[in-house]
Amino acid sequence: MLDIVFCSIPYSNLDYIYSAPAILKGIVQSHGFRAKTKDFGLDLYTLCGNNFEKFTEIQTYFITPGKLLSTEHLKILDEFYNEICQFIEQNPAKIYSFSIFSVYTHKSGYEILQRIKQRFPDQRILIGGRGVKVTAYTATSPDLGLRGREKLLPYGEIIANRKLADYVIVGDGEDAIIELLGTGNISVENFQSETFEYPLPDYTDYQFDKYLNYKSISLPITGSKGCVRDCDFCDVRYQFGKFRYRSGADVANEMIHVSKTYGFRKFQFTDSLVNGGLKPLEDFCSIVSQYNQDNPESKISWNGQYICRPKEHMPERLYSLMAASGAHGLTIGAESGSDRVLEAMNKKTTVGALLHELEMFRKYNITCFLLTMTGHWSETHEDFIEHCQMFVKILPYVRSGTVSAVSLGIPMMMLDSTPSQVNIDRNGVIVSDFDKESIWYVPNNPINTFKERAMRRLAVTQLCQLLKIPTVSDVEYILPIKNYVDTNYQKINNFYEKVI
């Protein structure tokens, strides 16, 4: 009998390979336990006859409240849940662990766990992942039948209260899982040290060839957790606690080992930022750039999220090393073109610093992708104009290909547990009862209503089209906002008419 099986469940991006199960398998194996990994998202895709439209339709069911499926799709879903049960029957394990990766996994997780507990009431179930700590996804809460106070509880607590999981791990799972397998209890919640190390991940159960575009897939790798910043719109600090990192050598060794063992040459850091610690970054880049120099036929390349630092923080040699180690396609949270808004966001950077980073990236042939947003609570109309000017300022870098594309994001949401939500009183923000994240009003910045924020999003889309700046995910961002407006416009109107 296995000790534990680490499972991924839909909502699944099949052009992305999740590394967490392989990392956890590597960790528990290094402590002498037997483990297996399983991606049930692939099984659902197979049951859909590898038909992406069918697959998408069923996945949409997991994230859309009240969505009904056709008889054919319901049959597939039923078959899918049965297959999960069959897998459990054929692969007995003391514990089955399910990754609740995000709010998008809430509904599927709920239905899968219900089915498993019905069929195997004694099977011990563990859930973990970022999705357990947050309240149940607003969009799916009606389908989960949440009532009263339950709506305010974290998803993990709801699942535990309903006896659908025996253990819930909040935060990092590594130490807690080892403790659970050894003693049957969990008392560890989070690492306290600044650094951590991983044994080599074990991908042997992965069916790489079943993923979409698997030959061009970048394999995920984790060099750090948390963030050195605490931007007011972001929940990373809440999710991960303080910034912790692996040594550069530890990360480089994993990358080189995985590259040699499984043939992957492209890697994607799951870190909130790859340059949180400059020393580990420099150590990592030095080792990998040497590897690339010694192995010109099998060079490694990598991408990840990157923070824009003040000019004096990043020595120029680091850009050169990053380029030689294969850095490309780094994602930078530029967010706003107004220094005033960046300060209110607590970004600890400026538009000038961004332009300096882009200059360095252009010099060393490192490409990047910019994330931006409109409608921060502090964003006045003048700030928004400065934001628009930023798109003109970055044009030389867009045309040179240094900035490959820009994401225009969604109008600002004050997410649960982020500083912007925690500090609403200090910032003088009035939030609505029905949607405190999206519908809010700042009396000392009265133009910044939801309508204006949405219109700003529309205006920057138009601006980027005219400036020929490639943007990504416009449909994915705009369509839900449009649907949201169509469904909630009366409530939104009532709120603003009341507060203004």
Binding site: V392, S400, A454, A459, K468, P470, V475, D486, E497
Partner: protein, 201 residues
């Protein structure tokens, strides 16, 4: 008539005018890096903006960096960069006609307001003129000077918008990044705009 852009709606509805209003330009930044090759005497370089000479000097052998800010005198402007005073004495040729030593200026980069003109090959080929003094002839633009001549760009300010309209580099995303987009962004934007009209404030 100058339009005002007091709300995002104004910007959305008059976006082209808005872009011009936030891109006004009075000066141009010329960032030039060249490699000067020298035989008998140092090559001389001249830079002109709107026919006004803003740089006229001999280069040192090897890499030279020139960073200049110049006023633009009108909306229709020109920037000219050239080599002067090269004579037949500056080229050493052997009996077989092979050049053994020469005076020349190789352009490493030419950035105008941050735009890397040389790296945008299609743009460079189609929007830059290159005039040779000795033959008084326009030829395909070269990334440097091996004879006396001028490399020129004539543009309408703001340069960044003029260039941007003409450049075809990196104007779209790869299809693999779009496969989930089942709707046209244009249609969706109009639908979104219509939906926003339901909001009163």
């Amino acid at each position: 008539m100058k339009k005002s852009f007091d709300t995002a709606l104004d910007i959305y509805l008059n976006c082209e005018n808005f872009i011009r209003s936030i891109s006004t330009q009075k000066t141009v930044c010329i960032d030039l890096k060249v490699n000067a090759i020298m035989y008998q005497s140092a090559p001389r370089m001249v830079i002109m903006v709107d026919s006004k000479i803003i740089y006229n000097d001999y280069l040192c052998e090897g890499e030279n960096s020139i960073l200049l800010n110049a006023d633009l005198l009108s909306e229709n402007s020109s920037i000219k960069i050239g080599m002067r005073e090269k004579t037949s004495q500056d080229t050493l040729v052997n009996d077989e006609g092979q050049i053994l030593a020469d005076n020349a200026i190789e352009i490493i980069w030419l950035r105008l307001d941050g735009i890397d003109i040389i790296q945008d090959y299609d743009f460079f080929r189609t929007h830059i003129t290159y005039f040779l003094h000795d033959t008084e002839d326009y030829v395909a633009p070269l990334k440097g000077f091996w004879q006396n001549g001028d490399l020129a760009i004539e543009f309408q300010s703001p340069l960044i918008l003029w260039y941007n309209e003409r450049s075809t580099k990196n104007t779209g995303v790869d299809d693999t990044m779009k496969y989930r987009n089942i709707l046209s962004t244009k249609t969706l934007m109009q639908d979104f705009f219509d939906s926003l009209q339901k909001l009163r404030i």
